[in-house]
């Protein structure tokens, strides 16, 4: 039985699907959505313990998605992923997020981060 349930919002399907699969081996249940709209939709239907959003998303931006999710689920912890080398100057960082992780995502770091955040909850 998985301890936590994580939703990834990232358009790089190959990457997130692999991450989700790998998290399974670490007792973390994961799902993913490829864009902000479907992620917001899914969060209305399904309960997650934490959401991990890539700032760079097609359609609704990662920052916008974060704001909507935060508005609809104020208690839901959110981690942001930012591409290495693209400074945050273009994207306004939404308030209320737990942390920002740089790319490339290291699985061990991610797991650790998730555990830290959720243990605080």
């Amino acid at each position: 039985m998985s301890k936590f349930k994580v939703l990834f919002v990232d358009d790089e399907e190959e990457l997130v699907s692999t991450l989700v699969e790998r998290l399974k081996y670490r007792d973390i249940a994961g799902a993913y959505e490829l864009n902000g709209a479907s992620a917001i939709e899914r969060l209305r239907r399904e309960k997650f313990d934490i959401v991990i959003i890539d700032l760079k998303l097609p359609g609704i931006s990662g920052a916008e998605t974060t704001r909507v999710v935060k508005q609809e689920h104020p208690e839901l912890p959110i981690l942001l992923i930012t591409g290495h080398g693209s400074p945050l100057e273009t994207e306004e960082i939404p308030k209320g997020i737990e942390d920002i992780l740089p790319k490339p995502i290291k699985l061990d770091t991610l797991v650790e981060k998730i555990q830290t955040v959720l243990r605080q909850e």
């Binding site: 790089e12 990457l15 699969e21 790998r22 081996y25 591409g83 290495h84 080398g85 790319k103 490339p104």
Partner: protein, 571 residues
């Protein structure tokens, strides 16, 4: 050593214009000097010329006035002297009867009376109608002399009166003759003739008290001197000046140049005589006169012109220098813009490439990780360890790739000057690290000659990286296969850290050494842009440091980079 001095660039003296720009500025300077000088000196010259003409005009007017005054005064006096004697003779002939005159003793009395009253009478003679001097009183034996064929005698008979030109008498003294005609009761004409000494006339001239440049004398209509002249000679010599004919004007003033002197002459006719009064004034030529009169002005002019010249030269030099500096700065700015654009483009490309590669790298990494996870949870997989080895190898390779893209992105991000504390040793090793492949490929030995302590500077990491990348790259390009490059740090100076990059490569000729920091100067032919070292120099200037080079062809080259420990450059 010399070339090291020449190429010291912190003074900013190595200039792009050195080879082609300077003649242009020299021309510009010359033009500016000429125009300014013309504008400044022409009014001065015009004023001087005006002054010269005004001065000359007033000098001339003064001379004319002076001469005119002497002329009219002297003319009046001379006319009086002549008229007095003429009138006396005229009176005698009309009042004294022929009988009274035709007596030597009577004549003698008259001559004595005349000399008593007027003076200047030498002799007196009575001539009958046939020209015989029948009665005579005077110092010469002239009694009985016949004048019938002489022109003056006939003139007296026709006109009634005559005053002669001056002639030398028997005593060898200048005289002139006054003669009048009268008729006896029987109608027969007779002539009374008196010789008058020129001394009477000369006295008038002596009394004029003229300066030594002014001459006054009498001349007859044939140009023969009637009195002695200072300028023209003694009595009865001819003067080579055109004597005016009887003009209606009583005075004529003429100007002409004679033997470098300017002569102003005035003429006046003495009434009822053949004499022309002439007053001549000699003076220096107008320019010399002006020059002597206005020596002060002349020196003032020279000093002013010299001052203007100095100020104009200095001013032009400063202006042109300033212009040159501005041009230089503009060229450098253009150059910087070009450089920045170029670097921005490279930066964008690098970051684009890095991002594009990063995503698939992440996927490969995660897939390999997943493979690892799968194998880990499949305990009975044959050759399980081999799988682990393989996936680990993939992950290590991905990590290596990540490092490359990481560097690329780092490089792209560091386009703007940013102050931070930098470990110089680490920075240099990092830069060399970029070129590991080339080093291995060409078997180049890099030796670090670093002091044991950590050397820190406060500067811009990206820009310093760019500088060393360029210099170290040049060093690698200069050496042969198996060559040596030594990178040293001298941390003994308190103000700057000196990094030296020495190679044992081909070296740089002295000729090239003077130009290597100039933009677009390349010895790499089509392979170089010629911008590398110029950009490097500009960056070091931006970072408040500088760079110099010494080299010997065939032995190698050393670049010294002086990094200030605390850069004050503007971020």
């Amino acid at each position: 050593m010399d070339s090291e001095q020449k190429n010291k660039v912190d003074s900013g003296e190595v200039s792009e214009e050195l080879r082609e720009g300077l003649p242009r500025y020299r021309r510009l300077r010359k033009l500016s000097v000429i125009i300014t000088l013309l504008v400044a000196l022409i009014p001065l010259a015009i004023m001087t010329i005006i002054n010269f003409y005004q001065d000359q005009e007033s000098y001339r007017a003064e001379s004319r006035y002076n001469i005119s005054r002497i002329l009219s005064n002297t003319k009046r006096t001379l006319e009086f002297v002549v008229e007095e004697r003429r009138a006396a003779i005229s009176l005698i002939i009309s009042q004294v009867t022929y009988d009274q005159l035709s007596d030597d003793d009577g004549l003698k009395t008259i001559l004595q009376n005349l000399n008593g009253s007027f003076g200047g009478f030498v002799d007196l003679g009575l001539i009958d109608s046939s020209g015989n001097q029948t009665y005579y009183v005077g110092p010469y034996e002239l009694k009985g002399k016949n004048y019938k064929n002489q022109e003056w005698f006939n003139e007296v008979l026709v006109r009634g009166a005559h005053i002669s030109d001056v002639f030398m008498g028997h005593r060898n003294l200048p005289h002139f003759v006054v003669a009048f005609r009268h008729e006896r009761k029987n109608g027969e004409p007779y002539v009374l003739r008196a010789t008058i000494d020129m001394e009477m006339i000369n006295r008038v001239f002596y009394s004029l008290d003229l300066d030594r440049n002014t001459d006054a004398f009498l001349v007859n209509q044939d140009g023969v001197l009637q009195t002695a002249s200072i300028f023209f000679g003694d009595v009865l010599s001819e003067i080579n000046v055109d004597v005016p004919k009887r003009f209606r004007h009583r005075e004529v003033i003429d100007e002409y140049e004679k033997e470098g002197k300017w002569v102003t002459s005035g003429y006046a006719f003495i009434e009822d005589t053949p004499f022309i009064l002439m007053v001549s004034k000699q003076r220096d030529n107008p320019f010399l006169h002006w020059f002597y009169q206005r020596t002060g002005l002349f020196w003032f002019l020279i000093v002013s012109a010299a001052l203007i010249l100095v100020v104009v030269m200095y001013g032009s030099s400063m202006t042109i220098k300033r212009l040159q500096e501005l041009d230089k700065r503009r060229a450098r700015m253009l150059h910087n813009v070009e450089y920045t654009n170029k670097m921005a483009t490279i930066g964008r490309m690098a970051s684009g490439v890095a991002h594009e590669i990063n995503n698939p790298l992440a996927i490969i990494n995660e897939k390999a990780g997943l493979l690892n996870d799968l194998v880990f949870h499949t305990k009975d997989l044959p050759e399980r360890d081999k799988f682990f080895d393989l996936s680990d190898s993939i992950i290590r390779s991905v990590e290596r790739c990540s490092k490359v893209t990481h560097r690329l992105l780092g490089f792209a991000r560091r386009m703007d000057a940013k102050k931070e504390t930098i470990d110089v040793k680490e920075l240099l090793e990092e830069v060399v690290g970029f070129q590991k492949t080339e080093l291995a490929h060409r078997n180049i030995q890099v030796n670090y000659n670093f002091p044991p302590e950590t050397i820190l500077v406060e500067s811009d990491r990206g820009l310093l990286q760019q500088v060393f990348l360029n210099i170290i790259n040049n060093a690698f390009a200069a050496v042969d296969v198996g060559g040596h490059v030594e990178i040293g740090i001298d941390g003994t100076d308190t103000k700057s850290v000196i990094v030296s990059v020495t190679d044992d490569g081909i070296g740089i000729s002295e000729d090239n050494l003077q130009h290597i920091f100039e933009p677009f100067y390349s010895t790499k032919g089509e392979f170089g842009t010629g911008l590398g070292l110029s950009i490097t120099r500009d960056i070091m200037q931006k970072l408040e440091g500088h760079i110099d080079v010494k080299s010997k062809p065939g032995e190698g080259t050393t670049f010294n980079v002086y990094i200030p420990r605390r850069g004050n450059f503007q971020v």
